[in-house]
C-alpha cells in the first residue's frame, strides 16, 4: 500500500511539474508578430461576422473595449462541446466528444473524491449524497469514455481520412484511456463501496495510517490512472491546456503596438539579437542584428 502511495505522489508530481514546465516554456517564448485569425470573439458587436476594430476609420484614436465574456463563452463551448470538431468534422465528433467529455467528468469525480477525502480526514463523515453523485458521474464517465475510446480506435485504424496519420501513440493513448474506463467500470460493478474506497484511498495519501480497501481491479484502475499522469505531459494530449495559449496568445492576440504601450521595449530587445541565417541576401556576418540587417537592402558587400 505504501508503495502505491509513493507512486501516486511521484505520478502527481511528474504531472504537475510536466505541465508547469510546458507552460513556463511557452510563456518564455518571445513575443511574436501579430498573427490573429478572425473571427476574434472579444471584438464587441463584430465577433458574429468576424469584424475587428480595424474597420473603424482612425481606429487608433478610439477606445477599445474587448468583450471578455463572449471570449470566455467561446472558449467554454470549444473546450466542453468541441464546437470546432462538430462544425468541421462531424463524423469524428461523436467519438471525440464522448472521449473528452468522459475525461471532464472523471476530473469532476476526482475533485469530489478529494472533497470526500478531506472530510474523512477532518473527521466529518462525507454525506451519502456525495458518494451517490460520485457514483453517477463515474458510471457515465466510464461508459462514455469506453464508448469514445472504441469509436476513436476504430476511426484511427480504419477510417481512410485518419489512417494515414495514425501513429503508435494514437493507438496506445486510446487503449490506455479505454483501459482506465474499463477497469473503472469493472471496479464499480464489483464493488458497491467504490466511492468510499476511492475517497478513503485519497485520504490515505496524506495520512498513511488511514485505513482503506482497494480491490484488485481498483489497484489496476489507480495504476493506470497514474501511468496516464506520468505519460500525459510528454504527449500532444497537452493540447488540453496549450489550447489556451494557441487561442489567447496567437489566434485572438491582436494587441496593437501603440506609442506608450508595453510592446515596443520587448521588440527593441528582440531586434537587438544577432541573426545567423546563411542565405547570401540576408547578409548576416555573425555580428549584425535585426536592426542592422533591416536597414540594408541585402545587396551590400560584406
Amino acid at each position: 500500500m505504501t508503495a502505491l502511495y509513493v507512486l501516486t505522489w511521484l505520478a502527481v508530481s511528474v504531472l504537475l511539474l510536466g505541465v508547469i514546465a510546458r507552460i513556463i516554456r511557452i510563456l518564455r517564448m518571445p513575443l511574436h508578430l501579430r498573427w490573429e485569425l478572425y473571427p476574434v470573439p472579444h471584438e464587441r458587436g463584430r465577433a458574429h461576422y468576424g469584424g475587428s476594430r480595424l474597420e473603424d476609420v482612425n481606429w487608433w484614436t478610439k477606445q477599445h473595449n474587448p468583450d471578455h465574456v463572449t471570449e470566455l463563452w467561446t472558449m467554454l463551448k470549444e473546450i466542453l462541446l468541441l464546437k470546432g470538431v462538430w462544425e468541421h468534422n462531424r463524423p469524428l465528433w461523436w467519438g471525440s466528444f464522448a472521449l473528452h467529455f468522459a475525461l471532464y467528468l472523471l476530473i469532476g469525480v476526482l475533485a469530489l473524491a478529494v472533497i470526500g477525502g478531506i472530510m474523512v480526514l477532518t473527521g466529518s463523515p462525507a454525506p451519502p449524497v456525495l458518494f451517490a453523485v460520485i457514483k453517477i458521474l463515474a458510471w457515465v464517465a466510464y461508459s462514455l469514455g469506453m464508448l469514445g475510446a472504441l469509436i476513436m480506435l476504430w476511426k484511427r485504424l480504419l477510417d481512410p481520412k485518419l489512417k494515414l496519420f495514425t501513429t503508435g501513440s494514437h493507438v496506445f493513448n486510446l487503449i490506455l484511456l479505454g483501459a482506465i474506463d474499463l477497469t473503472g467500470l469493472i471496479w464499480m460493478i464489483r464493488d458497491s463501496e467504490y466511492a468510499v474506497s476511492l475517497t478513503g484511498f485519497l485520504a490515505g495519501l496524506v495520512t498513511p495510517t488511514q485505513s482503506y480497501d482497494l480491490s484488485t481491479v481498483g489497484y489496476w484502475h489507480v495504476s493506470m490512472v497514474l501511468l496516464f499522469f506520468v505519460y500525459f505531459p510528454f504527449t500532444h494530449m497537452t493540447h488540453a491546456f496549450v489550447k489556451y495559449f494557441t487561442y489567447h496568445s496567437i489566434r485572438w492576440e491582436d494587441t496593437p503596438n501603440l506609442p506608450g504601450g508595453r510592446l515596443q521595449a520587448q521588440i527593441n530587445r528582440l531586434e537587438g539579437q544577432v541573426v545567423t541565417w546563411a542565405a547570401p541576401h540576408i547578409n548576416a556576418d555573425g555580428r549584425k542584428t535585426w536592426v542592422d540587417l533591416v536597414g540594408e537592402t541585402g545587396e551590400e558587400k560584406p
Binding site: 508578430l33 485569425l37 478572425y38 461576422y49 493540447h239 489550447k243 496593437p256 501603440l258
Partner: protein, 536 residues
C-alpha cells in the same frame, strides 16, 4: 474513361524516389457548372520530359520553384545539411522570434484529427488528392522537427510522432509543396486546437529562403530585391511611375469630366496613399478613382516618389521575414519623412496585412488603415452625391483572405456595396469564411512552366465556381455584364487569368474590378458610364 490519379499512400512516400509522387487527372477535378462543364475541355499541360530531367520535378504535375537538379552527390549532401541547419535555426529566438511561439505550438500539439482538411480549396478541388491535404505537408515537417530539433528520447518520440527519412528527394519535394498552399489559413480557422497549417507552409518557405537562398524568382529577384533596388516590384522607377500617373490623371479627367491631379511628396498631408504599384500598370482606373474620390471628399493626401514609397507590395510576407521587414521599414520611414498623419493602404490585401498588422510589431510608426475603411467613411459622410442606379447590374464581392481572415476588415466594403450596387449579392460562403482566389501568397504572379494551368484549373477552381454560383440567377450563357468586385491587386491578377482561361467574359459577361470604380461610377458629378464594359 477512368482516372489516372496518383497520390502518396503514406507519409513516407515523400522520401521514396519516383518519377512523380502525385498526378491530378482532369477527371478528378471538381465539376464546374454549365457552361463550364464540358468534359472535353483540354486537361492542363504536362511538363515536358526535358524539364523533368533538368529540374527537381518529382512532386506532381507542375513546377513553381523549379530548382535545377544538384549536379553531384556532394552538392546534394551540402543541400541536405543546409536544410537541417535551417530547420534548427527556425526554432531559435535570434533568427525567428517573429514566429517562434506560434510555430512551436503548431508543431507540438496537432491531434492529427483532420478536422482542417475539408476546408482547403486546393485539396477539395484536386479531387481530394492526398498530396494537397493541408496536413500532409505539415505532418512531414512535424516529423522532421521531432527528429532533428526536439528529439527527446528516440524510441518514445518515434512512437509519439512517427518517423520519416530525411533525404534529398524529400527536401526537393517539400520545397515545391511549400508552393501548393496559398497561406489562406482557412484550414487554421477550423482547427479545434489552434494549429495553423498555413503558418507551417510560411515557415517552410522561410527556411528555404533565409538559410538556403532558394525561393521563387517572382517573389525574390523580381519581387523584393527589385523593389528595394529600383523602387517597385513592377520595375517602375520613380520617374516612370510619375509619368504613368500623369497619364492616369489625364485619362480620368477626360472620362469623368472632373479634374484629377495626383499630388506627390506633400509634407504634412493627412494621408499617404500607398498603392500596390501593379494597379498603376494593370488597372490604372483604380489609382485614378482613388485620386478623384479623395479630392471630392476634401482630404489632403499625397503619394510618395521615394524608392519603395510608391509600391505597397511586400512579397516578403510570403517567404522571408528579413525582406518583409526591409520593405516595411522603408514604408514607415517615408511616411515619417513626409510627416503624414496616416498611411492608407490601397486595394491590396497582402499590402494591408503586411503593413497594417504584421509590421506593427516590427516598428512603431505612423498609423495605418485600409482603403476599405476610409472609402466607407467617405461614402457615408455625405460629402459626395451618389446615384446608385448607375450601378444597376449584378455585383458580387470577393473577400481577399488577408483583409478578412487576417485583419477582420469585413463590413466596410459590403456596406458600400449594399448602398451603391442595388443588385449586390453575396457569395457562399463569404466574409471570414471566404475561399481564397487560388492565387494567394503571391501565387497569382507565378506562371512558370505549366503552373498557370495548374493554378487556374486546380487552385482557382473553387473561387471560379463560387463566382458562377453567385450569378446562378442570371443567365450565364449570355454576355450581359456582371461585376465581380475584388478589392485586392493580387486577387485581381488571379481573377483576370481565371476569366481569360475560361473565356468567362465572352461566355457569361463576367467582368471584375475594384470597389473604388463602383463608387466613382455612381457619383452624380461624374459623367455617366464611367464603367465601360468594352474597356474592361
Amino acid at each position: 474513361m477512368s482516372s489516372h490519379r496518383k497520390q502518396p499512400k503514406s507519409l513516407k512516400d515523400i522520401s521514396r524516389p519516383s518519377e512523380q509522387l502525385a498526378h491530378v487527372d482532369s477527371l478528378d477535378l471538381f465539376p464546374l457548372p454549365p457552361p463550364y462543364d464540358n468534359p472535353n475541355d483540354p486537361p492542363f499541360k504536362q511538363l515536358p520530359q526535358k524539364t523533368r530531367d533538368a529540374f527537381e520535378a518529382s512532386l506532381d504535375d507542375t513546377l513553381v520553384v523549379g530548382l535545377p537538379k544538384p549536379k553531384t552527390k556532394e552538392e546534394e549532401e551540402r543541400l541536405v545539411q543546409a536544410f537541417i541547419s535551417g530547420l534548427r535555426k527556425l526554432f531559435t529566438s535570434e533568427n525567428n522570434w517573429t514566429f517562434l511561439q506560434p510555430l512551436t505550438l503548431s508543431m507540438e500539439h496537432c491531434a492529427r484529427c483532420q478536422s482542417c482538411i475539408d476546408d482547403c480549396p486546393y485539396y477539395e478541388m484536386s479531387g481530394h488528392n492526398e498530396l494537397y491535404r493541408p496536413t500532409y505537408r505539415s505532418e512531414i515537417f512535424r516529423r522532421l522537427y521531432f527528429k532533428y530539433v526536439n528529439p527527446g528520447v528516440a524510441g518514445f518520440n518515434r512512437m509519439q510522432n512517427g518517423d520519416i527519412e530525411l533525404n534529398w528527394t524529400l527536401i526537393a519535394r517539400l520545397l515545391e509543396l511549400a508552393y501548393r498552399c496559398t497561406l489562406c489559413r482557412r484550414c487554421a480557422q477550423s482547427c479545434p486546437i489552434g494549429v495553423d497549417n498555413g503558418l507551417i507552409t510560411h515557415e517552410l518557405r522561410k527556411l528555404f529562403s533565409s538559410e538556403m537562398g532558394i525561393t521563387v524568382k517572382d517573389l525574390h529577384e523580381k519581387g523584393t530585391v527589385q523593389q528595394l533596388k529600383v523602387g517597385s516590384s513592377t520595375g517602375m522607377s520613380p520617374i516612370v511611375v510619375k509619368d504613368n500617373i500623369e497619364f492616369v490623371d489625364e485619362d480620368m479627367t477626360e472620362r469623368t469630366g472632373i479634374k484629377v491631379q495626383t499630388r506627390w511628396d506633400v509634407e504634412g498631408a493627412e494621408v499617404l496613399l500607398l498603392h500596390n504599384a501593379g494597379e498603376i500598370l494593370a488597372w490604372p482606373d483604380n489609382p485614378g478613382c482613388f485620386a478623384l474620390i479623395l479630392d471630392a471628399a476634401g482630404i489632403s493626401w499625397t503619394m510618395s516618389s521615394d524608392l519603395v514609397g510608391y509600391d505597397g507590395v511586400n512579397y516578403g510576407l510570403f517567404y522571408d521575414d528579413v525582406q518583409l521587414a526591409r520593405i516595411a521599414y522603408r514604408h514607415m520611414e517615408i511616411a515619417k519623412k513626409l510627416k503624414v498623419k496616416k498611411i492608407v493602404m490601397g486595394e491590396c490585401g497582402h499590402e494591408s496585412k503586411a503593413l497594417g498588422v504584421i509590421a506593427d510589431r516590427v516598428f512603431q510608426g505612423i498609423p495605418r488603415e485600409t482603403a476599405m475603411t476610409l472609402m466607407a467613411d467617405i461614402v457615408f459622410s455625405g460629402k459626395i452625391k451618389f446615384d446608385p442606379s448607375r450601378n444597376d447590374f449584378p455585383v458580387t464581392l470577393h473577400d481577399p483572405c488577408n483583409l478578412v481572415r487576417a485583419m477582420g476588415v469585413v463590413e466596410p466594403q459590403r456596406k458600400v456595396l449594399r448602398y451603391l450596387a442595388p443588385r449586390f449579392r453575396e457569395m457562399t460562403p463569404h466574409g471570414v469564411r471566404n475561399y481564397c482566389c487560388g492565387g494567394g501568397s503571391g501565387m497569382a504572379i507565378m506562371s512558370q512552366h505549366n503552373f498557370m494551368d495548374w493554378r487556374l484549373q486546380v487552385g482557382g477552381r473553387k473561387k471560379f465556381k463560387q463566382i458562377l454560383d453567385a450569378f446562378a440567377d442570371e443567365d450565364l450563357n449570355s454576355n450581359s455584364p456582371k461585376y465581380l468586385c475584388a478589392p485586392c491587386s493580387n486577387c485581381k491578377g488571379q481573377i483576370r487569368d481565371l476569366f481569360d482561361y475560361y473565356g468567362a467574359k465572352a461566355k457569361s459577361g463576367l467582368h471584375y474590378g475594384g470597389l473604388v470604380e463602383l463608387i466613382v461610377n455612381a457619383m452624380v458629378d461624374v459623367k455617366e458610364g464611367f464603367i465601360n464594359w468594352d474597356l474592361m
